[in-house]
Symmetry: C3
Subunit: 353 residues, 3 copies
């Protein structure tokens, strides 16, 4: 089995979960509708087919039976089984969102038997500046934080969640320091906290390019907070055009249902790459069909693999299992090669893995 580089994922929860807590983390929904269950879905079918057997549970068993067995094994053993079965060479872990304590990149790497790296979320960097920064000092403080993050050996990329906060319609000019100071002033006057200002997200994206590290963008589907219309990667085209002269790789994540749009951008812009991320496990057995649509235009050298697994190690495994089955050996191998080219620090795994 070809090892994959999971170039965008998150940690997993460090406790056992009851049915409600498990189901709340299964899809992008917070909860099922009354009288229904999110286990009855393409994702649920894939979970039964691929994950139940990994915990020695029959595929036609009930969710309760699965969750009982899961609790009996304990979250650590479940994590180990799922992440080992994922067959990963490396995990690149977005550490910028953890509504509850999740495994660190190193711990996730240990579970997976894979090299572990960090993807630093731009907004988390900015928001961490909090009280300690003035409006006029914001730009320099961000640049300094990003530079410090970039030189840590474990950091291999930055990530923007502008899609969630202001949409992907970022302007195509670097905001001036004065404009950044004014925007930061508004943000600080509002008490800091959650950043949602087009000027600041744009500034962060350009500032990330200056470090030379690849920049990942959330695009396409997400949880119910997202305005999906404003997550169409085509909205980012003006910014992508402006960013291109830097030569820094840009990674469009997830992309669904706009994956054909992303593939077009990946064809015509040399710096643009894409993956299907959380789409893969959400659509279950349809992963091959969606991948085929993405590869209509996306050159094979521009496509990467990620699971966007979050909280449940089942999602890290499902992503890999469904992708491998959809992509076949040759494309799976290519995505690993592509990840090594885009993230040179990740390195090529030796034969002894």
């Amino acid at each position: 089995m070809e090892l994959l580089v999971d170039h965008h994922c998150h940690g997993v929860v460090r406790r056992d979960l009851d049915r409600a807590a498990f189901e709340a983390r299964l899809t992008e929904a917070d909860q099922p509708a009354p009288g229904t269950t999110l286990f009855d879905s393409a994702l649920g079918d894939a979970l039964r087919a691929h994950c139940f057997p990994l915990l020695d549970v029959a595929s036609d068993a009930s969710p309760e039976a699965y969750l009982e067995r899961r609790a009996a094994l304990g979250h650590a053993e479940v994590g180990r089984r799922m992440l080992r079965a994922a067959g990963l060479a490396a995990v690149l872990v977005d550490t910028g969102w953890a509504p509850e304590p999740l495994t660190s990149p190193a711990s996730l790497g240990d579970l997976a038997g894979a090299a572990a790296y960090e993807v630093v979320r731009l907004e988390a960097v900015a928001e961490a500046l909090g009280d300690g920064v003035s409006a006029g000092g914001f730009a320099a403080a961000v640049r300094s934080s990003l530079a410090a993050a970039a030189v840590r050996g474990t950091t291999v990329a930055f990530k923007s969640v502008a899609a969630y906060r202001v949409g992907l319609g970022l302007g195509d000019e670097r905001p001036s320091d004065a404009a950044v100071a004014a925007a930061a002033g508004r943000w600080l006057a509002g008490g800091g906290g959650r950043l949602a200002d087009e000027v600041l997200h744009r500034f962060l994206a350009f500032a990330a390019l200056d470090t030379g590290l690849p920049l990942q963008f959330h695009t396409g589907l997400g949880d119910r907070d997202v305005d999906l219309r404003s997550c169409d990667p085509l909205l980012l085209a003006p910014w992508l055009r402006a960013a291109e002269p830097t030569g820094v790789p840009v990674l469009l994540l997830h992309c669904y249902p706009f994956h054909r749009h992303a593939a077009y951008l990946a064809q015509v812009f040399p710096t643009v790459h894409m993956d299907l991320g959380l789409t893969t496990h959400n659509v279950g057995a349809r992963a091959a069909a969606v991948l085929a649509e993405a590869l209509e235009l996306c050159p094979y050298g521009k496509f990467l693999y990620s699971s966007d697994g979050f909280a449940l190690p089942e999602l890290h495994f499902l992503g890999a299992a469904l992708f491998r089955s959809a992509a076949g050996g040759e494309l799976a191998r290519r995505t690993t090669e592509n990840a090594h080219r885009v993230y040179p620090a990740v390195g090529v795994p030796g034969p002894g893995r």
Copy 2:
């Protein structure tokens, strides 16, 4: 054969039709282009394959031969054959649009051997107030009419055609009574008639929620009057978010070509459901492919069946035949179960059906 609940359809015409009249009702086009025929289409192929044999006409016969046989049998017998063959437990009939006299819900139910219910169109209720209402009295009159409609035993849902009139970009706040009065004043000053005012459509949608009955929305494709771009169900997301605390089920109808968008909404919003409606018969043999796309994200408990059959009973039958073949027995059964949950008044059909 599992009986289906056709949760959104219309009556059928009560006369025989010549070729031009039949073809004008076959698709969303008013007429074919010169030198072409709408029989040469995915829908036409499905008609030949599924409907011709029901009237004892060979599938490779000409449209003329079919229409001759159709006239010889008479519209009543054709309606009976088609609707019986559809295999329906219940029909939920939108009575709000009838450019010519159509069968009543009860008559359609008789043709189908199915229970019959009414879906009341919000705009028809408002427009019926006509001269008899003042701007200041509009809101109360609408509320009173909706409440009266809701307590009739036959009414099981309301329906909004805001998509056709102002698009789905409804605001996410209930308009104040003053705002409704002002908008009603503009409408009345213009002579009443066809409603097309965002404030009024939004008011109607919120007022419908107050009755507790499920609310259907036209979304996606429709006839040539529609601005398809403004029928993307994602435009409705802010309103859906605002409507969610009421717990009232919302049904996104048709959805194509935005069915993946609708499926995303059905996943993340507990109250949101979807169907493919008129898409199913329009795309003919591709119904399975389109359904597969919708079920990538839509939880199986949120998907319903409807034909959106209008005027031609062939469309009621084709929808059911194509859907059954696309969905398979298990999902077909689920859509009926889902309909009974969303519309409790429809009830579960007894074993003697």
Copy 3:
């Protein structure tokens, strides 16, 4: 083999090409990303499978081997082989864009053994007026040029690239002569040159209708200059509605990834037709899947064939080979029949072709 009418293509280059020059013309990208090649793509796979053997090169040979053989045969022989193998009855050649000298329509027809006609680009006509026109005289000069072009026996259609310049959101009213004069004045004051003014593109489109010749519109994907969001053919709906009373056929070209949108327009507007154009060769083996999506709604009498081949005769051949394989004999035959109906001057090929 059924001969096809390639109702929209361009000339081919009149020189041999090295790998960089060939690859730059292969897709909509200007160049591959560092470390990747555009040969590794759906289009590249199709090139290997279909074109390599036509030059006696094994499908698993390297691009270099193919290009060596290509140079040894010489561009003229390659053009002849590819265009003959395309099996064309007629080529309709857009002569409005030639960053380097390309074969004329007559020469392309000779290579193909096909009848040759010209598609005149509206913007090229207007831009050619250059210095010789005043703002006030612009409208009359355009009308006169279009009328002259239309009566040349070789001209069978006009084409608009408004999508590239201002997007497809054209207004639905003919601009007044005063509005045209004002817009032309702004254009001339800016030195003339590349036209990009909604009023002028709209004027050109309406003026083209007045000649009675069919009008082609670029829609959907294109090179990196395009703002793909503004190439959604649904944006053109108001203009299409306004244009319909003229009865002049309108052709939506390429359409991807909005081909389902175009198909909807082709169903509901009698004058609207569509093709997949450059999509067909770009998506390679997925041509059948994309075509199936387009034919969900597009009536078979409204679908045409084109390659949009440009510069490389491989693209003219690939389009035809992939389309034939995707469409099957019956639909291929229909597209030729449709082309003859839309472009009566093209005529039905005699049995002796």
